[in-house]
Symmetry: none
Subunit: 197 residues, 2 copies
DNA sequence: TTCTAATATAATTGG
DNA sequence: CCAATTATATTAGT
């Protein structure tokens, strides 16, 4: 394909040569031709080799710098994983709304929280006969559980971490409690995370 | 950097050598030692050089195959991103539940549905609703555990993973809820989005 | 020891 | 000159 016959022998430069080249590179990563020629004489290489070495050396430097930049950028932007955080916050808000609505309904029905607890976990399907199947409670308790996962990490270091989420203490502050602003509220909450669509 | 001492001369193999090596490689990419030795004699290289060549040749082959596989896999699978789809679906479920609750409330309060602001479920959190230690809240909270796993292992650096636990939400029996378009802010579920990469 | 995967380095190619 | 790629070698880990 592309193999020329003019390829001679390649030669790894020895430590002395490398050392001198590195020293020169530290002073000036892009020296003039004359300097390179002089250097070539000193280390016993062809000028072309010295030029090539400087090019490769600059390329290596650039790669390292780029990697470093990328790392720090990623470290600063990626850490909280803001995208997932936002989605989780979104879900928390929705759950908060559900909870409040449920409280309101319970009050309306004048229930005592202690007895006749039809809103426990969904395990009590033994005898569901309630005078009011109340789509509400069942619906609420129905399931807010979720499992969302994916693990691609083969042998990497995916460290696990517990999230003590559910800080529902979030001040949702009712500045605008007008009538059917259900939608507006939800609209807001989903609006502050446009990224998800 | 890592240049050890005894780096001597390297030698590019000539066309004849390469040609023979390639022919042999096509027949058997991993020949036995004797064959490699015989080959080395035929082309005038050290056995070690021939072995190295085969190793790197295999590496190159594998890289190309892997790249091809990755490309097609990525092309076909990359888009939906099930994690976020799941989260979005979860949000939709929550909203559906809210809708049901809201409908129920409207019916209970009957006529003033249009201007009903009696239960604007939102803002409280500051005062009010103290008399009820909210057993319900706990119940709800217990159901909120999520398990979210993140996996960007491209660079073998899974930043973090959060675990809650629990199971998949049962599908809501929404055969009756056909008015899905309330606050239609969820509907554009757009599965495209590569925004997060 | 052999193999794989990852990396280093000298050289080439094309722009 | 630079970016990208190639070809050989070397090293770490199994």
């Amino acid at each position: 394909m592309a193999s020329k016959r003019k390829n001679k022998n390649m030669q790894r430069f020895n430590d002395e040569q490398i050392k001198l080249l590195e020293i020169m590179f530290e002073e000036e990563s892009r020296p003039e031709s004359r300097i390179k020629q002089k250097l070539a004489n000193e280390v016993g290489l062809h000028p072309r080799q010295v030029a090539t070495w400087f090019q490769n050396r600059r390329a290596r430097l650039k790669i390292k710098q780029t990697e470093r930049e990328y790392s720090s950028l990623k470290a600063s932007y990626d850490t909280p994983d803001s995208k997932f955080e936002s989605l989780k916050r979104e879900n928390q808000l929705l759950l908060l709304q559900l909870q409040k609505l449920k409280d309101t309904l319970d009050k309306q029905h004048g229930k005592n929280g202690m007895s006749s607890d039809s809103n426990s976990v969904k395990g009590d399907s033994t005898s569901e006969s309630k005078e009011k199947p109340s789509i509400l409670s069942e619906s609420v308790n129905h399931n807010i559980n979720m499992f969302i996962g994916d693990a691609n990490c083969e042998d990497a270091e995916c460290t696990e971490k517990e999230t003590g989420m559910l800080n529902i203490a979030e001040p949702i502050d009712d500045s605008s409690t007008s009538s059917e602003d259900w939608c507006s509220f939800l609209d807001q909450s989903s609006g502050n995370s446009q990224w998800w669509e």
